[in-house]
């Protein structure tokens, strides 16, 4: 019984990490219908940026992410403005090809700069700290912070989207970019701002990626897969759905691993397929589209 409860708790906490991986992807898809195949590599890139900032400035990763976030916002903004905006249109293929190419460029670029060695973000005692819940169950402080950060990211994204003029412009541009221009909205700029925002979310995801496990330049595509699964399980266009999707994935993996450690990854994919079979549009699809 305790074992089952522990699996559920650890699964929900792991889901927080997947939700963070997925939130940026969900945001980008929601605003500009862009399927970003480089998303996982961008998380890894952001982890290296945090690593460099932390080492060069002698900062703790939690402080380094505050320095890295505006830099990453700018990179995302420029990337969208000069490159990705040109690929958007009726044809879905160009953005897929370009982000696929970007994925390869980022991986190879990181290999050149940092070699294939594993890296890690170091933050001292907090990495191994845990809180005992009694009954033999303990939760790690970093996994707990991951989940709390995921919830905070989702809450803030929802506030931005549904309570601010910027969010209104995001939703309007997503609905109808042509008419959005008639409202004085520069859709290229709005898309670039959305990508900048997604990069800030990517920075937060990268922080926990690097604190919880080793990373190297090649691990991006696997994170992309988890992010995709979380977004699709949750339903396109819903941030809360993305959080739920991440948690479903985390639960499935953790419970699968308890049954047999080799089943961890497979269980996640099976849960994904099961949700798709039962609810093809995900758990919380947006009413429209």
């Amino acid at each position: 019984m305790t074992g089952a409860l522990d699996a559920v708790i650890q699964g929900v906490l792991l889901g927080g990490l997947y939700a963070l991986f997925a939130a940026g992807l969900s945001l980008i898809f929601g605003v500009m219908r862009l399927v970003n195949l480089a998303h996982g590599d961008l998380i890894v890139l952001a982890a290296f940026v945090i690593l460099v900032v932390a080492e060069k400035l002698g900062l703790d990763p939690f402080a380094a992410v505050l320095v890295a976030a505006p830099i990453l916002f700018a990179i995302g903004f420029v990337l969208q403005h000069v490159l990705l905006n040109r690929t958007l249109g009726r044809d879905l293929l160009p953005p897929l090809l370009v982000t696929f190419g970007l994925s390869i460029i980022i991986q190879n670029g990181l290999l050149q700069l940092f070699s294939a060695d594993s890296e890690r973000l170091r933050s001292g005692a907090i990495e191994t700290a845990s809180i005992a819940l009694g009954g033999g169950i303990a939760i790690g402080v970093v996994p707990l912070l991951t989940l709390l950060s995921a919830v905070a990211v989702i809450v803030i994204l929802n506030l931005i989207f549904y309570r601010t003029p910027l969010g209104r412009a995001f939703r309007a541009t997503s609905d109808d970019p042509e008419v959005a221009q008639l409202m004085g909205i520069d859709h290229n700029r709005i898309f670039a701002t959305a990508m900048g925002l997604a990069f800030v979310v990517i920075a937060i995801a990268a922080l926990y990626l690097g604190l919880r496990a080793n990373f190297d330049p090649t691990i991006g595509p696997a994170r992309l897969l988890y992010a995709f699964e979380a977004v699709i399980i949750g339903g396109l266009g819903s941030f809360w759905g993305t959080l739920a999707g991440g948690i479903v994935l985390g639960l499935a993996q953790t419970i699968g691993a308890r049954i047999d450690p080799e089943w961890q990854i497979l269980s996640g994919h099976l849960a994904f397929l099961a949700v798709l079979a039962i609810r093809p549009r995900g758990l919380f699809p947006r009413a429209l589209d």
């Binding site: 003029p165 209104r168 412009a169 939703r171 309007a172 997503s174 609905d175 109808d176 042509e178 008419v179 959005a180 221009q181 008639l182 409202m183 004085g184 909205i185 520069d186 859709h187 947006r286 429209l288």
Partner: protein, 233 residues
Amino acid sequence: MALLETCNLQAFYGDFQALYGIDTRLEAGETIAIIGANGAGKSTFLKAVAGLVRRPAASVLFDRQPIGALSAADVVKLGIALVPEGRRLFPSLSVEENLLIGGHGRKLGGPWTLDRVYSLFPILKERRSQAAPTLSGGQQQMAAIGRALMSNPRVLLCDEISLGLAPIIIADIYATLPRIKAEGTSVVLVEQDIAQAIKVSDRVYCFQEGRLSLVGRPRELTREQIHDAYFGS
């Protein structure tokens, strides 16, 4: 002094030429009507003025300044707002959000606020928190006009605001035009409902296959002239 002028305006969709050298003029305070059969180029004309269709830089003059090189987002900031054909409200926004976003890039001060739009179209206030697609056709048209007014335009471009609406609703909407004009807004009406358009216009332009086929003051034009200009003779 013309507020808005087009000089030899041409527009293309790829290789297809949709407008051939259109000359028009709108004086401050005027209403002009653009009529013509389906496919004559009326919507293309409004889109070219609004900046949604590429056009030569000097072919559109606003306040004597060429604005043909500006993006649609910049044109609306100068004071030209388009009510697009088919209303095209933002479906995932509420009625009130649709109105508010009309003032998104607003640089111009002016008479139109949310409250003023609600007093022009009281039904929209009742429906303010509903999703836009739940409105009736007439209410959607009112919201589309209100959304355009929120940018405080000096020129309001209206593309077939009577399309698909019952006569009584059309009359309601047209009844608001004098109040809009009273705020100093000049109006360009594209209409297939010729009678309605002619009644409220100072001048009528008839398009035929991308060319101007007739220009004149409504009372100076005969029924036959309009018929020929509309359908070709």
